[in-house]
């Protein structure tokens, strides 16, 4: 865990995962971060074991006639990390709303 810098965008991504966004583009929507930021963060979190990633079932993808989507879920370690982040960035809760709402990130 020491290798991961807990930056503000990382915390936003973790928060989005905790509040029910599980796909790359959805996390972008939830956090308002650009894709070029979101994906590297997801990959780093994945590498550090803070999120788990699985692939959508082939059947679902075939029904919708597209390649399978990648599904990200926060792990226990990720949740701990998020708790630490929440202390550091007090406004986190306000920044990431549940999937229905979209907000621009506001810096603490």
């Amino acid at each position: 865990m020491a290798r991961l810098n807990l930056t503000y965008p990382t915390a936003l991504v973790l928060q989005a995962l905790a509040t029910g966004s599980h796909h790359g583009f959805d996390i972008m929507d939830a956090t308002g971060l650009p894709s070029g930021t979101v994906y590297p963060i997801l990959r780093r979190l994945d590498r550090e074991g803070l999120v788990d990633s699985t692939w959508e079932k082939q059947a679902t993808a075939q029904r919708e006639q597209r390649p399978p989507r990648r599904y990200y879920a926060i792990t226990r370690g990720g949740a701990d990390m998020l708790a630490q982040a929440a202390e550091r960035f007090r406004a986190l809760d306000a920044a990431v709303a549940p999937p229905a709402r979209r907000l621009k990130p506001s810096r603490a």
């Binding site: 650009p34 894709s35 590297p40 590498r47």
Partner: protein, 883 residues
């Protein structure tokens, strides 16, 4: 399923970006992006994809590029290096003057080093096209008393060596031979070649590419004449026809069956005209040849027997030579054998000059590194803030050093690309000025081996110029952010670098100066004749002129026609033509009639030359005493001789030789003659060689058919030669010409090796001096800028421009003096390695040292002058506000 254009464009962008992703992760990466894109486009299918949504999709897709780059970085061994390189590149881009000058300086250094290393590699390390080439030795004769002496081998000695030695598994000789070829269409021509004794192809380790080598019984006398031809002749005469075997090639009117074609790379550089040897035939050793020991013209090749070293072979031949000395005290006194590996032989005389050049390019590269290091140091001061901040936010020293070394690598890698391009040019330029007949130099080319050298040199230079400055600035906290006072330790360091540059440049300038002076002395040597406007045509006219009267008639008639040619002032003929590649050197013991002492064994021989009167006038050979040969000296008149003053001095000292009688062995007969004149001595082989002690006979009295026509005339040499050939063909249409050319050019060609060394060294010294001047200019400009405030204060306090200028110049002069003194000491020591390449000049020649030191000093001070003048323009008011 129909996909909107925007989706297709986005999918295409993702696919393009996926090329960046390392192969291992590419499939998953692409699937993830495509899955999301498809899903995103579909989720909105009910609605129309309006421009807002299209823009959103496009924006998201653009993130694929940084994502792909990020993934790639995870796979590169050290992402920070990439970052360092990018940072470095940005900084270099922002200071193009610095970047361009450093890259230029380093490119010159790297380029010249790669070029010279490539040439040396070609000579010294590239595999030779002979079987187990390291076992192939060339054997030579040398006079034991003279170090560095090396001659062709006398037939008698070769036969004895071959019979008595056990160190070699094969030993064979090649004998120069040329054939008249009148078979093809066009003018009769000479084909140059060699006759080889049995086992030659085994000894040298080469098989014909087409056909076979000679069979043992083909070396027996009376066997069917066979020939092996060169690749060039095969293509020229036979059109490269593989069915050439057993076709007849008419040589000297005798049909020879062609049994083989040599590979193109066969170039053992044996015999005169080594590059023109087209026909190889068998040498049938004649019984009488075993007795020839005084004349040496055979080239010997031998293959070491398994397990025998070169030294052991040399020791055995030394022992044999001592025995031969006892057996033949007259001819073999002081004659020793010399074993030289074929590779060493192929390097010729170029190894020493190229090694000296290598030393010189390394010096240039070092100066270049010092220069760039100095530039980096100057820049470092400007970057102090950057380093201070980075150190303050936690960058360790190693991190900063790495940043700087990465930047240095970036510089030297860019320089290496330019340098390799430069090296290509340099290699062709060096090969172009190299002695034409030398060796395998023509094969030199920049290839992967050179590139490896370039990479190594690049790394070394990056470390060389980058590490010291890096260690200097990365010292945490030290100079950082502090007030900039006038004097910093760094300035001392830079001045040290520049002083070192001055010293190195002086060493190179001294070397170049010595070579230039040596060359001057060499070319001002009087060869003993005036070559300007003289052309020469060598003929061997024995075939159709077998008797003395026929020989006389042939040359009388042809010379008559040549003299009548328009533009020809005089024409003559001589047997031993100075500076011709097949100079005839007939030597004889000299007997002075009435003098008691027999010829001493250690006495060098006397050369016997036959000439017509026209030879002396055409070549403007000065008459020192008595008279020249002329029309009086006919067949029936008493035989007369001229002696060269070298011989006159040797035999008579200051007394006059006129009237003395000589006895000479000429074609097996004793010829007695009276000396009627003394002519100037002539140098025959090279300007730095000794003049020949020579006896001249009148052609009319001692007819000879291996002669060289000598024509003094006006007009282009080529035109004169062509006209002369036509006149000779008018008398004998089958006569061939062995060698033709302008005598002035032959003399010039004899110093091509010295010219080569001089040109290379002077070019490098010039580059070194230029780099050095740049270095001085840089360091003085920089310190002057640093002292702006100080200068302002001084001017405000009343110092005038002259004082300021002197102050800056004094600083430069100090650096130059320090470097100059060190350089002088180094130059005296280093120039000793040039001794072997110098002619009539000592390595520590004071005049040369004085001249180059003054030149370096003047150039150095000139480089200081501009910053000094700029310093005087400083406005005190502005200077005081500057900090």
């Amino acid at each position: 399923m129909h996909r909107p254009t925007i989706v297709r464009v986005c999918l295409w962008v993702v696919r393009a970006c996926s090329a960046i992703v390392p192969r291992r992760a590419r499939r998953e990466w692409r699937m993830e992006w495509e899955g999301e894109l498809h899903h995103h486009a579909r989720a909105r299918e009910g609605e129309r994809l309006d421009w807002r949504r299209q823009a959103d999709l496009a924006r998201r897709t653009l993130g694929a590029l940084p994502d792909a780059a990020w993934v790639r970085r995870q796979f590169t061994a050290d992402a920070e290096i990439v970052h360092d390189a990018k940072h470095g590149a940005r900084l270099l881009w922002r200071s193009p003057t610095f970047a361009l000058s450093s890259v230029g300086i380093l490119a010159v250094g790297i380029g010249s080093t790669v070029a010279v290393v490539t040439l040396l590699d070609t000579l010294m390390f590239r595999p030779l096209p002979y079987e187990r080439a390291e076992d192939v030795m060339t054997l030579w004769q040398r006079r034991a008393a003279l170090p560095g002496d090396r001659h062709d081998v006398a037939p008698g000695n070769f036969l004895d060596w071959r019979e008595r030695s056990r160190s070699f598994s094969a030993m064979a000789a090649a004998v120069p031979y040329s054939f008249d070829y009148t078979g093809g269409t066009g003018q009769p021509r000479v084909l140059f070649g060699a006759q080889v004794t049995e086992g030659f192809w085994d000894a040298i380790g080469m098989r014909p590419a087409v056909g076979r080598a000679f069979l043992p019984d083909e070396h027996a006398s009376g066997s069917r004449p066979v020939a092996i031809v060169s690749d060039r002749l095969w293509r020229e005469i036979f059109g490269g026809d593989p069915g050439i075997l057993d076709r007849a090639l008419s040589l000297d009117g005798v049909p020879h069956a062609v049994v083989g074609v040599l590979p193109r790379e066969f170039a053992p550089q044996l015999l005169p005209r080594a590059d023109m040897l087209d026909v190889w035939t068998v040498k049938v050793v004649q019984e009488h040849e075993g007795r020839i020991r005084a004349s040496a013209w055979w080239n010997v090749v031998a293959r070491l027997a398994p397990g025998v070293s070169r030294e052991a072979a040399q020791a055995e031949l030394d022992a044999i030579s001592r025995t031969l000395e006892q057996e033949h005290p007259r001819a073999n006194a002081g004659i020793a054998a010399l074993v030289i590996p074929l590779r060493e032989h192929l390097m010729g005389d170029l190894r020493a000059p190229l090694l000296v050049t290598l030393a010189a390019v390394i010096l240039v590269l070092t100066i270049g590194c010092a220069n760039v290091a100095s530039l980096l140091l100057a820049r470092g001061v400007e970057r102090e803030r950057e380093f201070a901040i980075r150190a303050a936010v936690g960058a360790g020293r190693a991190r900063l050093v790495r940043q700087l070394v990465t930047e240095s690598l970036l510089l030297s890698a860019t320089a290496a690309v330019a340098g390799v391009a430069l090296a290509r040019g340099a290699v062709s330029a060096i090969v172009a000025v190299a002695p034409p007949r030398v060796l395998r130099l023509g094969e030199a080319a920049i290839d992967e081996r050179s590139l490896l050298v370039a990479v190594a040199v690049t790394m070394l230079t990056a470390v060389g110029f980058g590490v010291l400055p890096a260690l200097q600035f990365s010292r945490p906290g030290q100079d950082a952010m502090r007030e900039r006072a006038g004097r910093t330790p760094r300035r001392g360091f830079r001045r040290g670098l520049v002083a070192a540059e001055v010293a190195l440049a002086l060493v190179l300038m001294t070397g170049a100066g010595l070579l230039v002076r040596s060359f001057e002395r060499l070319t001002s040597v009087d060869p003993g004749f005036a070559p300007e406007g003289v052309v020469a045509l060598q003929v061997f006219a024995w075939d159709r002129n077998p008797t003395a009267p026929r020989i006389r008639a042939f040359f009388d008639v042809t010379l008559e026609r040549l003299r009548a040619l328009p533009g020809v002032a005089t024409a003559g003929a001589v047997s031993a033509m100075p500076f011709a590649s097949a100079n005839i050197d007939i030597k004889s013991p000299l007997e002075i009639v009435g003098r008691a002492s027999a010829p001493r064994a250690d006495q060098p021989g006397t050369y016997v030359t036959v000439a017509t009167p026209g030879y002396f006038t055409a070549m403007a050979i000065p008459l020192r005493a008595g008279r020249l040969v002329d029309d009086r000296d006919t067949e029936r008149a008493p035989v007369v001789a001229l002696v060269s003053d070298a011989l006159a001095r040797r035999e008579w000292g200051t007394a006059s030789p006129l009237g003395a009688r000589l006895a000479i062995q000429w074609q097996g007969k004793r010829v007695e003659s009276e000396i009627v004149g003394v002519v100037g001595q002539i140098r025959h082989d090279s300007l730095d060689g000794a003049a020949r002690p020579e006896v001249f006979f009148a052609f009319a009295q001692v007819p000879f058919a291996s002669m060289t026509y000598v024509l003094k005339g006006t007009g282009r040499p080529e035109a004169l030669i062509e006209a002369a050939k036509r006149e000779v063909w008018a008398v004998d249409p089958l006569q061939t010409f062995y060698e033709t050319g302008s005598v002035a050019r032959w003399v010039e060609a004899s110093v091509v090796r010295q010219r080569f060394s001089m040109t290379l060294m002077s070019t490098l010294a010039g580059i070194a001096l230029l780099l050095c001047a740049t270095g001085i200019y840089g360091v003085i400009s920089f310190t002057t800028v640093q002292r702006t405030r100080e200068i302002g204060v001084r001017m405000a306090l009343g110092a005038n421009r002259g004082t300021i200028q002197r102050m800056v110049l004094r600083e430069g002069a100090g650096v130059i003096a320090l470097g100059g003194l060190t350089g002088l000491v180094a130059a005296v020591a280093a120039s000793r390695s040039l001794r072997a390449m110098l002619f009539e000049i000592e390595p520590g020649d004071p005049l040369t040292l004085a001249a180059v030191s003054s030149l370096v000093a003047v150039v150095g001070l000139a480089a200081c002058y501009f910053p000094a003048r700029r310093a005087t323009r400083i406005d005190p008011a502005i200077a005081l506000r500057s900090d």
